[in-house]
Symmetry: C2
Subunit: 194 residues, 2 copies
């Protein structure tokens, strides 16, 4: 067991992830620079590539954390003792607020570049399923007689739609559009689906 070395390697990896997370959260994905990372972590430039494959992998690691936080946030802000439609609206609002409060980290979830062929990592799909499952509950209560297949499609459509509304709202957030308007938009459109 070369344990000591492997432990330090893992520790550096952890340090790098934390620094990367701070950078992404504070200044966005494009502010992630290998030389800054090395300086802040107190290691040499090349050491990064021993602890972590490359910067993209580092971003992936940060994204995994962000995704988990997102899931927890939405769950936490969705009361279980209210009507299905209210739960759906609450989830959409939670998604919106998380995105607004964690704008840079949230954007990094989607701004990361994937090679056109390779699939998304497993944890990404898992977390996504989790979010879908959250929506699926109240949605099936609202539509007891819908086929499972259509329900799956509807779930996906609902998530994507909310995502689009939040995305375009935050994109031009500086150009007017107060957050309350976005919440109203979400409320307005979601309640029409019941």
């Amino acid at each position: 067991m070369a344990t000591a070395a492997q432990t330090r390697r893992a520790a550096l990896r952890e340090t790098l992830i934390e620094i990367a997370e701070r950078h992404i959260t504070q200044n966005g994905l494009s502010s992630l620079r290998a030389r800054d990372l090395a300086k802040e972590a107190g290691c040499a430039l090349g050491a990064i590539y021993n602890a972590v494959g490359d910067l993209n992998e580092l971003t992936l690691e940060v994204n995994a954390r962000t995704f988990k936080r997102l899931g927890a946030y939405v769950t936490q802000h969705t009361p279980s003792d209210i009507a299905p439609i209210d739960r759906i609206v609450a989830m959409a609002w939670a998604y919106h607020h998380f995105a607004a409060e964690n704008h840079n980290a949230w954007r990094a979830l989607f701004d990361i570049e994937r090679a056109p062929d390779e699939a998304a990592p497993a944890w990404y799909l898992t977390e996504m399923q989790g979010l879908f499952a959250l929506i699926h509950g109240p949605l099936s209560e609202l539509n007891p007689d819908q086929s499972p297949e259509e329900l799956a499609l509807l779930t996906r459509a609902l998530f994507s739609g909310v995502h689009g509304i939040v995305l375009l709202s935050l994109d031009q957030a500086s150009a007017g559009l107060p957050p309350e308007e976005t919440d109203r938009m979400l409320d307005l459109i979601l309640r029409r689906l019941s």
Copy 2:
């Protein structure tokens, strides 16, 4: 009048835009390289910066064209003699098909990086208004007694929602999800809004 020089300058600018458009369309925004551009246009590297400000401006120019094509495409594929709800679905499908058939160019519309403070260019807002106007028509027919303000919000929400559905569908297009499913999703969700 230093006309001759200015004419050639404008010609080079036009050439560059066309080459850039071809590159973006065929291989995506990230394949736009100044040195390739110079080689293909038959000019020196530095000459590019006399004809256009920088590569970002070039992308903006290509995006303007893409946006116009998008508007024309949606208009063309939206029959005016059908029910309002059918018009809305037709527009969404047209948006989806244009995005699918012009994936790289369409992505470049949103992938371009803007400084966080500066607003979107005027033509962008104008074209956007045009798309919104297209939606507003049938939507107000469907909701004659809605307040103008809520109608505006609904219009925006509808566009953003469709955009989100198309965006996430195309993102993982390689990972399954046939285009017909996306069309069904759009149909399913839009018809619930009537």
